[in-house]
Structures are given as C-alpha cells and as structure tokens.
C-alpha cells in the first residue's frame, strides 16, 4: 500500500486511516534514516493532528481532494510557517519561516499531510544530494550510489516507500534526474504553472516545483492541486488549471513523438541507457504513436548556457544570506566586512561558493556581454529550437540522464563532469517547458529514466503520452529489492 493510488483506495474503503498512514510514514522515515538519509526533519505531532482532521473529514464524507489524508515530504527549500527551512545549508540551519509557501497552502487545502522535510543539495545546487549539511542521501537500489539531485531526498522518500509522493524543485533537472536514478516518476511542470512563492530561490527564471510519485496518474492528481495562478508570483501564469487526470485516455494514436538526433549519439552516453529509451519509444509506437526524428541544433551549448544563467541568478539570489537579519551570523565579528566574509564563508558549502563566484564573475563589468548576455541570446535560440521541433511533433522523448546513478564521491572532485550529466534536462528549464521522467527499465540493476518533454502549458498531452507508456509497461511497479 505504498503508492498514492493504493493509499487513496485504502482510505476510501476505510481499510486504513490517515493517522495510520502518517504514523507508518514517520516510522519508516526513522527506520531508514541511517541507511538512506532521505528525510531530514519530521513534524510528527502536527502531522498526526492533521491526519486526525483528515480522518474526521473522511467520516463526514468531506473529501478535499485525492490527496486528502495522504502523507508526503517536501524538499527542504519550500517554507512552511513555524517550521525550519534549511536548504541543507549551514547558513540557514536555524531558520524558521514566518510564512507559508503557496504549495504548502495548497497542499493544506487539498488535505495532504506534510510529515517533514527531505534532503537536497545545498540550495538545490548539485546533481547528487551529496552537498548537504545532513550528509548524502543514498540510492535505495544501491546504497553506495547517489540518488541524484538536487531533490534526492524526496525521490528516495518515494522510491523507498516512506511517503507515496513528495514535492521537489527542478532548476536544471533536479526533479527528473533523481527520479530517473531512483526509479520513480518525477515531473517538472511548465515554468509559471506552480507558484514559486515560498520556494527558496536558486535561479528564479529556471526554478519550478513539481511532484514525485510512482505513476503518471498520481502526478496528474498532485499537479492539479498545486498548480494555478498566484498573484504573489509575478511569473506565475494566469491560466486555468485543467483536470490533468481527465486527459489520461491511454490513447496515443495520432500522437507524434520526436527523437532529437543530437541526444541519441552514443558519445558520452551509456549505450544501454539509450537502448532502453529507444525500446520505450518503440512501445508507444506500437500503441499507435508516430515517431519522427527531430533536431535541436543548439544542444551543444545548453549546459554552458544553463550554468551561466543559473549561477548569475544564484549569485544575486543568495546575497541575502549575509548574517544581518536571520540565519547564521559568524560569532566574534567586530566589523561589517568581517560579518559578511565570515558568515558567508562559514555558512556556505564549497559547491554553493563555486557557483556564487562563477555567477558574480559572469555578471561583472567587462564580462557581462561575453557571458551573461550571450547566454540569454543562446537561451532564445534554444527556445526557437523547441518551437520548430514542436511543429513536427507533440512530445519529445529522450533519456533523462546519459547514465545510471553513479557512486557516491565519484564526481565530487570533478564538478564539470557532474555538470555535463545535466545535458538532457537543462533545456526544458531554459525553454520553460514541461518535462517528466518515467522508469523505463534497469541497467545492471539500476533504474533508467525516459524523459518526455511537451509544449509549454500543454501538460495534458505530455501526461497522456507518459500515462499511455505506463499502461503498457510495468517498469514503474519495480521496487528496490532491499527497500520494498
């Protein structure tokens, strides 16, 4: 009973109470803390009280949504009033938010029960959940390997059956890549679909909140509850939210799937990963979809472009952590310069510092045009690539990552090779498009994700294709042997 859908059925049938689900989730989080380190903060008492309310609603027949009474964890970068939000950073280790994020408000009105906060790379910077004051989270398929990142904690929570769903944030693949590494579904909606109010910013023009679950249908339910226009986020899109689950007809006839020529080159990618993705696409083809080859000619520039834009924005977004108003202030400082220097030197980890330095550099006088402005121009070209591609197809299928989960520590000394692993995911953030990663098989015992990308605001078509794949396959029903 570890999927959202199974828990829904159990609650509706009265076979289980929300109290029980929440208690079990909390217990499992504790039980797996040492081995997986997925959940870094629990709010057991509050969660149990909220579960009791959900159970009362069940008795009165006042179900708020399909999520009512179901436990989840939030990546530790979405604020909840009265609760800590650390972003896995020393600089925020004692920060307690005075306000709620929009997603927290919406989850509450949906009746979902947040049991705690999940691990991540510090300030969402990383692809392995190794850069965390809480230490690395581990992959339940092989605890010597990373779970991906930066939303590693939420992915592991779902993969290891702690909670049936979770929310993460995706700036360059931070939902899709850990979903791929841990064998769950992870979705990044269209930029602007889910409000960023209360999401601690990494790179504002790229960040987007999205769900982790075991099935596409569950993701559709979750998205329906958290999406929608929000006046508190100026970049939030003022469009109505469809009932995404209604679009899941299972029918892909007439649907055209594009395979980007530039993504299926074996240089730098694991051939077995590419083969599984091709097999996944073939499955949809046999179900009636048309498959065409497309071209995304600026693919070679996307990683560089992404790291210029993301670090530039991050250098500015993280300036507020200065030791002056909240968060960590270095002790024993005697002047302002020292307060800034020491608080930030002690408070930020190496990867965050690296990105602040990079971003500060690319925005500096004399370098701005060559780096930041140029990156913005390339970003426009990348958008153009997708616009042209979507004239020829309805969804694009690619690998989520060039390889399966790597070993913990394997890339910590080689940030560039870590960055290059983002090659397939960053484009969707640069172009603001929705993307989803689906389990599509195992390579050497480790999960592989197939990524599908859709047109902006057309999550319906994307989810329909992804759901059709899951109706015909059972990759998503596989569980890590030691944690099922």
């Amino acid at each position: 009973m570890e999927t959202l859908e199974a828990q829904r059925v159990g609650l509706d049938a009265g076979d289980v109470s929300s109290r029980e689900l929440v208690t079990r989730a909390v217990a499992r989080a504790r039980e797996l803390a040492d081995r997986l380190n997925a959940v870094v903060g629990l709010r057991e008492e509050a969660a149990c009280a909220e579960a009791a309310e959900a159970d009362e609603r069940h008795v009165r027949g006042q179900l708020r949504s399909p999520l009512d009474g179901i436990p989840l964890v939030l990546k530790d970068n979405m604020v909840q009033c009265g609760e800590p939000t650390t972003c896995a950073s020393r600089i925020l280790e004692n920060f307690v938010s005075p306000y709620d994020s929009t997603v927290v408000e919406r989850l509450r009105s949906a009746g979902a029960v947040i049991i705690g906060r999940a691990n991540m790379d510090e300030f969402a910077m990383g692809s392995s959940t190794e850069h965390s004051i809480f230490g690395p989270s581990r992959n339940p398929w092989d605890t010597d390997r990373t779970c991906g990142g930066s939303s590693g904690g939420p992915a592991v929570a779902v993969a290891a059956g702690i909670t049936p769903f979770a929310l993460g944030s995706d700036t360059g693949g931070s939902i899709r890549q850990p979903a791929s590494f841990t064998g769950v579904v992870g979705m990044k909606p269209t930029y602007g679909r889910v409000s960023r109010w209360g999401l601690v910013a990494f790179a504002s023009s790229l960040d987007q909140i999205g769900p982790f679950a075991h099935s596409v249908r569950e993701c559709a339910w979750i998205l329906r509850e958290i999406a929608g226009h929000d006046r508190r986020d100026s970049t939030s899109l003022p469009f109505p939210v469809p009932d995404f689950a209604e679009a899941l007809t299972g029918d892909v006839s007439g649907l055209t799937i594009g395979l980007p020529r530039e993504y299926f080159v074996e240089q730098g990618a694991d051939p077995e990963v590419l083969a599984l993705v091709r097999a996944g696409v073939a499955e949809l083809e046999s179900a009636g979809a048309k498959v065409v080859e497309i071209s995304l000619p600026h693919t070679g520039y996307v990683v560089a472009t992404y790291y210029l834009v993301a670090t530039a924005e991050a250098s500015s977004n993280l300036a507020r952590y200065d030791g002056a108003r909240y968060g960590r202030r270095a002790s024993g400082v005697t002047n302002l310069e020292q307060m800034y220097r020491r608080s930030r030197s002690e408070g930020f980890g190496a990867e965050v510092k690296r990105r602040i330095l990079l971003g500060t550099y690319v925005l500096s006088a004399g370098y701005f045009d060559a780096y930041y402005r140029k990156a913005q121009q390339v970003r426009t070209l990348v958008r153009g690539d997708f616009e042209r591609a979507f004239e020829e197809c309805d969804v694009i299928a690619t690998p989520t990552c060039p390889e399966v989960a790597f070993e913990i520590g394997a890339k910590t000394d080689d940030p560039v090779s870590m960055y290059l692993g983002d090659i397939y995911t960053v484009s969707a953030n640069l172009a603001g498009l929705p993307g989803i990663s689906l389990p599509c098989g195992l390579v050497r015992g480790m999960p592989v994700g197939m990524q599908m990308l859709g047109r902006a605001m057309d999550e319906n078509t994307l989810l329909r294709a992804a759901d059709a794949f899951q109706r015909r396959t059972d990759h998503h029903a596989r569980r890590p042997p030691e944690f099922s």
Binding site: T85, W197, L336
Partner: protein, 500 residues
C-alpha cells in the same frame, strides 16, 4: 582671486532627485507606508528579503510615474524593465536593490525654471518674478526603484554601540529623476529643485518633504574655463538634505574645484559629502574604487508594459499643472501676470489663495495681501505656508475688516505676525490689541482741529496752493490716533477744514 570662481569658470550641474511616491503600500510588498512609526513596524517578509519571498509590483506607482512623465513633457515608455543593482549593505535586505536600469519608465522630458536676473536670491516661498527669465532644463530619465532601510548608529537610539537597522523605509517606492547637465549656477540648481518639487506636489505624486527624507538630491558638479565646450571632470555630491544646503554645497564644491584648477591641479572623480558645519565639501570615496553593481534584469519580475489607454486615462485625470493654473488665475480672477506667477509658484500658495477667495476675500485683495505682506511675513519667520498658523478664512476676514474700514491697512499688517505664528480670529485679535479703527467722527474732528491749530503756517501755504504739507499734517493726525484713524477720512476732513 578665489572669490568669484564663476567669473573664470562655467559650472555644469546635473541633479539626481529621489522622491518618495505617495502610495498606500510599498513598491513590491503590501506593507503600509507611514512616517514616524516605531522601527520595524511596517515590514512584510518581502521587505526583509526572507527566503522564498517574491516581489509583486504595486500598480499604484505606474499611474504616478505616468503623471510625472506627462507633467515633464517626457516620453512614457511602453515597456520598462526592473533590474537588480547588486551590493552588500545591512540596510539592503536582499543584497540587491530593485531598480530600473537600461529601460526606465520615463525618458526625455523637461521642466521650466524661473531664474532671477538680479543677483539677489529668490525668496523662499516664491520666486521674485519681477525680473526673471525662464529656462528649460532637460530631464534625461525617471525610473522606479525601491528605497533601502535605515541604519541607526546613534547609541542613544540603538541603545548600544551596535548598529541597528529600521526596515520601515525598505521598499518604499521612489522615482529617481535625473536631469541633463543643463544647470549653470547654484541658484539654477535651487530653482530646478523648487520647480520640480512644486510639480511633484501639484500632480500629487509625492509630498516631497526633504526633512522626512521624501525628497533627496545628489548633484554632479564640474567646472570648465568659460568659453570651453569640453566638460570638466565631475564630482558627485551625495545626499544633500535641505534646500539651503543644495546651493551652499554646490557653491562650496565650486570653490574647492576652482582652487584646485587655479593651482594648475586636476579634479579627481569622487563622491563628495557636504558638511554644513564647516561649509566645505570632503571626499567620501574615489570613483576609481567604483562599485560594480552587476545589473541584470530581475527574473522575479516581468517587464512593465504601459498601454496608450492607461496613459490617456491618467492624462484625463491629471491634476492642474502650474502653467494651467496661472492661465486660469488670470482669466478667472483677473489677476495680473505678476500676481498669478507668484501664487502658482507653489501648490500650497495657490490652494490658500483659492480658499481665501472662496471664504469671501476679493481675489485681487487676497492676491495683493498674499504676494506682498503674507510672503514677506513668512520669509521673516522662516516658515513654509503649510507650517504657518494662519488660515485662508482668517486672511479673508482680515481683508474684510480693512474693506469695512474697521481696521486700517497698517493695523492689519501689524496683526499679521501673530496670525502667522499663532493663528486665531482677526476680529478678536484686533479687539484684544485695541487696534479697531477710530470711526468716532467727533474724536477725529478734535484731533484735526488741534493739528491745524498747531501748524497754522502750513495751513496757509496749502491754502496758497502748495499741497505738499498735507501729507505731513496727515501724519500728525495718524500719529495722534495711533494709526487707528481711517486715512481716507482724515485726509477728507483735513481738506474740508483747510479749504473751508
């Protein structure tokens, strides 16, 4: 030789004015704007730069920016963009200020200043418009930005040697209005500031009170030899906090630069501060250490798009501008150009005039009393009209008392200082001070008789056709009645008695 630097050098001045916009809430947060509240009482998580907060533009400011654009004959840009100006300071909560950089909301405007041709500085409340020329000063741009908080270093306030920060002001909307380097003297700079402030108040964009920090000015100053076309190296005078100091600071900076140039030295680009105590300017920091603000478009905000329709709506609802008011005062009230110019020179004067007129004062008398006596009195008390206790109704009734002959013009002028300082009812004040005009014919007749008797020789020469001594005799009568007799009546009676 240092005495008159402007005889040898031409000064080139450009001003940057930061003015608080008159809105209910802040530029990007719903926190209220109230002056004088306890520190950190008007703050929202947005104003503190809490993790996860996002700015949302207060739409109120857009109309105000359009108003300023229209009032300064400027272009209201259909698209403008908010950028981040990145620097660290404790009163800057996010580590960046949201401002407009490459694409401001308003550009390419101008305003007119009235500049006295005489050397005398214009009066505080109104330009002396007798000998003035008007000059057009270009406005390069005006852009929206958020104000910072306030650092409090004062141990008495902060309660210790620590620095404390008050974020009540953080996020208050500002328009930064940048002039072209069109100003050629400290007096012109002063006139520009007064004119700009007057416009801002007229169009209700800002209260522009310098003492409250709502209207702040930086001045860029450079000198060049007279006749030269090439601009000299400029320095920037920061945060000049009063009107008086603007002209004094620029004058001091001119003197400093002239002394360097006279000695064959070079001006170094720098940020300067003016010390009113010493009357000198000093270097705050050199520009070669110029900060790199790493401006880039704020990804949390979308471009500000302004449609023609919105501009036309604002235009239709625009409060009357000074020039329009001057024309109306001439046509509606029959005022002279001179009086009308004085009265429109600031919004408070114009409103006071119209209120006094509505309270029954004849427009011409009200204008006369205001442009001469009232303004002189305000200047003597060093008060702005808004700070004075006199009400428009009080001025109207003072004028009425004179018109009725119950108060002589001289006595009325004597009452003015009290009315300005303490307020009150002119009639009651007149009675309390015993200044009511003598209307007792018998009494005046008696005094006239005495004066004529004591000056028989003069009476004779008047009878012989020399009118000159008449004024002396009048003076004697007025003196004997302590100025309370009606001068017209005294003159009539004197002539009656002399000519028989």
């Amino acid at each position: 030789m240092n005495r008159q630097p402007l005889a040898r050098y031409e000064v080139v001045i450009g001003l940057e004015v930061h003015t608080h916009l008159k809105t209910e809430s802040k530029l990007f947060s719903p926190a209220p704007i109230r002056y004088g509240d306890k520190p950190n009482h008007n703050v929202h998580p947005i104003d503190l730069g809490m993790p996860g907060v996002l700015p949302v533009l207060n739409r109120e400011v857009v109309d105000l920016a359009i108003r300023l654009g229209l009032a300064t004959h400027a272009v209201v840009n259909k698209r403008s963009v908010f950028s981040r100006k990145n620097y660290f300071y404790p009163d800057l909560p996010k580590g960046y200020q949201i401002s407009q950089y490459e694409e401001p909301v308003v550009s390419d405007g101008w305003i007119e200043i009235e500049q006295s041709t005489s050397a005398k500085a214009p009066a505080k409340n109104a330009a002396s418009v007798a000998d003035t020329v008007s000059k057009r000063i270009g406005i390069t741009r005006a852009h929206l930005e958020e104000d910072a908080g306030k650092s409090i270093h004062d141990a008495a306030v902060a309660g210790s040697d620590d620095t404390h920060v008050d974020f009540n002001r953080a996020g208050v909307p500002l328009l930064e209005i940048v002039s072209e380097p069109d100003l050629r003297s400290p007096a012109e700079a002063g006139a520009y500031l007064r004119s700009l402030r007057s416009i801002l108040r007229y169009i209700e964009v800002s209260d522009a009170e310098m003492e409250k920090g709502q209207f702040r000015c930086d001045a860029n100053v450079s000198l060049r030899p007279r006749g030269s076309e090439q601009l000299g190296t400029r320095t920037e005078l920061k945060n000049i906090n009063s009107f008086a100091n603007v002209e004094a600071a620029i004058t001091a900076e001119i003197a400093r630069q002239a002394a360097i140039l006279d000695d064959g030295g070079e001006i170094v680009q720098a940020t300067m501060a003016y010390d009113p105590e010493t009357g000198r300017t000093r270097v705050l920091r050199l520009k070669e250490n110029a900060d790199d603000y790493r401006y880039f478009d704020d990804p949390d905000l979308i471009p500000l798009i302004i449609g023609d329709e919105q501009i036309e709506q604002v235009r239709a609802a625009m409060p009357e501008l000074p020039e329009q008011k001057r024309e109306r005062f001439q046509s509606e009230y029959g005022l002279s150009d001179y009086d009308a110019r004085i009265l429109i020179s600031n919004r408070a004067l114009a409103d006071f005039f119209e209120q006094a007129t509505r309270a029954g004062g004849s427009p011409k008398s009200v204008a006369n009393w205001m442009s001469r006596d009232l303004l002189r009195e305000l200047n003597e008390c060093d008060l702005e009209l808004e700070q004075a206790a006199i009400t428009p109704a009080a001025l109207a009734s003072l004028i009425e008392l004179v018109a009725e002959g119950r108060l002589t013009a001289k006595s009325a002028r004597d009452l003015l200082p009290d009315l300005v300082r303490e307020g009150g009812e002119p009639e009651a004040l007149m009675q309390r001070r015993g200044l009511e005009a003598v209307s007792d014919s018998g009494l005046i007749d008696g005094v006239v008789g005495e004066v004529l008797a004591a000056n028989a020789a003069l009476v004779e020469s008047i009878r012989d056709g020399d009118d000159k001594p008449l004024n002396f005799l009048m003076g004697q009568v007025m003196k004997a009645t302590q100025g309370k007799a009606n001068p017209g009546e005294v003159r009539r009676k004197l002539i009656e008695k002399i000519r028989g």
